[in-house]
Symmetry: C2
């Protein structure tokens, strides 16, 4: 059995080496590649994706999985090997459903569409990407059809499963509806109150100083620069090439202090998750984060529950103020804390405050469903986007740049399954935060001293090290002893923003 | 026939896409990769090399080449298709000789050795790389044995052929001996003369200004930043990921103006060659430079025949002086010209002047022969290195950092075949320069106006566009109507340095 297991692991390692190589090609495309490189890069990404898919779906992998079934059955559910065989088996069955040629087509189309988006967004030119997006929708539908979904299910279920295994439109819609129901009155109540002044966040903050401060913070969080690095890009992301090389990207605006800083913290949360996966799981389907939602719980936890907290800034604000004496010399700590937590319905998801953020996500989730069902055509998407923003957030984008062109997702990947994880992540972040603080009441006091080791250790032990062994629902059950609920998250928002706005 | 040819080209394109992807992994390793990434990177490079080798040596490629033989025979020798089938056939036969597993082993070992070298060189720690280098020698010998060499030939011929097809130890040794014979008295005569003052080159030159000046120069040369970019590394190199993405790397020392500037010009020469290859040849064995020697002729031509010429500096020196007013305000143009052409036997090949440079190369060439023949053991290499430098150049390295650890070549690639191209390149650079100036007498006057289009056009038309269609010897014959000779090069050196040193 051990021999068969080793053979399986060697085959999986080769697949993940190809994925790692492809990831580097993608990283370079989004950071340093000159325009002339796009054409070959698209082909190269397609070639690597196709090879990885071919090697993963090799019948020998299926045979090994089958032969190892009795061994898996003899092991505890949460053992590494049982988890490996369970999760690999699931992904293998899924991968078999996609023809390798189709995988290559998706990768190659994605590279083209992404490149076009990087030009179209600054030019506010939706027309330039519309035909590419139509093709993306067609490919997304075909992918869903290849995967299939249970009778009575939704076409999007086939795609959601990829990112958030175990979640479906049927489970997500009530969750999101309940959330919207709780958030709408909270947003309304906040809007009755006087808005805090945050104008000082938009003074001139030189990029290099922003960069240095962010790096200092995330090093203290626990992000390891010996096993990663940070670069600049249009739309920040985290990416992994192997267990020892987990990179983040960020961006800065010199007239917006929050943009780069919170984005840096956010991506470091993703990256610390990947840096914390047990080395024993590397090079297998278990070697990365459990799901989009659990991943996002880590980034949002560091960005918001840590990075926008009073305790964090009680340590860091004097440092920030010293660094930017000219810009923040006249700003008290409490005023700063109120400013970075200002709630205001706005256009850009990644800049949105914690309270309105989920409404951005729910808009995209519902647009994806409408597109996939055929209720909405791509050419009508910009107008549908504007209508949703009027309805959910009461704001109107002056152009597509800050409307339908703002997120990269649809322009490099599929339509469907790409957004629910953001809101699941928020819900999970508060769930995990509550559990971590219950286990380690010293977390807040540590934060007020610029220390994060109790928090990081708890996350490592309870979440990071397990990689993809457990689903989001299983992790929640293991940690809280109860199923997923929006209550901790609503509780967190109500307490924090109730206090902030005196409601 | 056309269908078979298209199938062959599609297969070759896939191979070159894998090579392009592997090249990006290598580029990243040498520029941005954090230390933790090394282990996975080694495996990833090995995987990609092995896949490229497997796909290139697919029996279907051999069958297509065979079936297309009559078609090739019906075409003119210098047509694209005849050249494609000729050169691909040659490389296919050669590639068949290496087991794919061995190719992967070489790539994986190379990544490990390179990583070790980046640590060992600054630490002056030859012992740390010695076992790796012993393994490199063993792998190099095994490679030579796989390839084989003709009776009466030399083990190194099997490796030289890879980089400089058509050259052998038997043809190179007399060439190098003649060169040494001409250079030794020239160096001696120069050393009789008073040395020019070059101390002002070692004043403080801020890196960013050096970078900007270099970029301005190579853009004027014709290097296209839309199809490339420049980054920093330890040991500068040029690398290609596809026809539209040809990158260079450079390095700067703030107390040495020449180091970064001439290195930037040098790498731009390599890159303009690759950027100039006809697009019709892309994605095939014809789509890159003809040989190591021809490649080096392009880099040395821009670095030396252009970049160290009076005409070039008559335009650029006033600009450089304005940029570095503090450092060069008191330095006349002629004094600057003399300083950048100062001849002085020294330790570092890449910093060597034009006259002594080839002695550095010949030392390495002879050490490679001694290692491959077994006359020299790796553990004795540092001492042999020092002895050669005493003998050829009359200088002694105080440590291995500036001795045997100075070049990256042996630490990422094989021992053998890696150096002769540098001196061939010098010989060829003067040969091509003479021909270009005979065809376009306006080249020098253009340079004095900061224009390089007559020169670049001639290089594009006579060398670049052909990619690898012709061998070095064939190119020389086509361009000069005569075989390769050291005369133009000796003539160039004698004229230039005779005038400079009044001898």
């Amino acid at each position: 059995m051990q021999e068969k297991l080793n053979e399986l692991k060697a085959r999986l390692q080769a697949v993940y080496d190809l994925h790692g190589a492809a990831a580097l090609l993608y990283w370079d495309q989004a950071t340093y590649m000159p325009p002339g490189g796009a054409e070959a890069r698209g082909r190269q990404l397609a070639t690597l994706s196709q090879l990885a898919q071919e090697q993963f779906t090799d019948p020998a992998v299926g045979r090994l999985l089958e032969e190892l079934q009795p061994y898996a059955a003899s092991l505890p559910y949460d053992s590494d090997d049982a988890s490996l065989l369970r999760v690999t088996g699931r992904q293998y069955q899924r991968a078999l459903k996609l023809p390798p040629q189709f995988v290559a087509e998706i990768a190659s189309h994605g590279a083209r569409a992404y490149q076009a988006w990087t030009v179209a967004r600054p030019a506010n030119d939706f027309a330039a990407v519309q035909p590419l997006l139509e093709r993306t929708l067609e490919l997304s539908r075909r992918a869903a059809e290849y995967f299939g979904w249970p009778a009575g299910g939704h076409v999007a279920d086939a795609l959601i499963e990829e990112a958030d295994y175990g979640m479906t439109v049927a489970t997500l819609q009530p969750l999101f509806a309940a959330l919207r129901q709780q958030l709408t009155p909270l947003v309304a109540a906040i809007q009755q109150q006087p808005a805090p002044d945050d104008s000082f966040l938009y003074r001139h903050y030189p990029e290099q100083q922003q960069w240095d401060f962010g790096v200092e913070v995330i090093q203290r969080f626990g992000y390891d620069f010996q096993q990663g690095r940070q670069d600049k890009t249009h739309h920040p992301f985290m990416i992994k090439f192997g267990p020892g090389d987990v990179r983040i990207t960020t961006r800065f605006r010199e007239n917006d202090l929050g943009d780069g800083l919170f984005s840096t913290m956010h991506e470091s949360g993703h990256a610390m998750y990947e840096q914390g996966v047990s080395l024993a799981l590397a090079g297998t389907p278990l070697g990365g984060g459990a799901s989009a939602g659990v991943h996002e719980s880590q980034s949002r936890l560091w960005e918001n529950l840590v990075g926008r907290s009073q305790a964090f800034w009680s340590y860091y604000y004097p440092r920030l103020q010293a660094l930017f004496a000219q810009q923040l010399g006249d700003v008290a700590q409490d005023a700063f804390y109120r400013a970075i937590n200002k709630v205001q319905p706005s256009l850009i998801r990644v800049d949105a405050d914690e309270v309105t953020y989920n409404l951005h996500v729910i808009i995209r989730f519902e647009l994806e469903l409408a597109l996939l069902e055929g209720r909405l055509a791509v050419r009508d998407l910009p107008e549908a986007w504007r209508a949703s923003y009027r309805d959910y957030l009461g704001v109107e984008a002056p152009d597509d740049r800050d409307g339908v062109l703002q997120d990269m997702h649809w322009y490099y990947s599929q339509i469907g399954g790409g957004f629910q994880g953001y809101t699941l992540g928020n819900i999970l972040s508060a769930t995990f935060w509550q559990a971590a603080n219950a286990a380690h009441p010293e977390i807040e006091a540590q934060m007020a001293e610029g220390r994060f080791d109790a928090l990081l250790s708890w996350l490592r032990a309870n979440i990071h090290q397990h990689g993809s062994k457990f689903t989001a629902a299983e992790l929640v059950q293991r940690i809280t002893g109860a199923p997923l609920s929006i209550e901790p998250y609503i509780g967190y928002l109500t307490n924090k923003y109730g206090a902030l706005y005196g409601i």
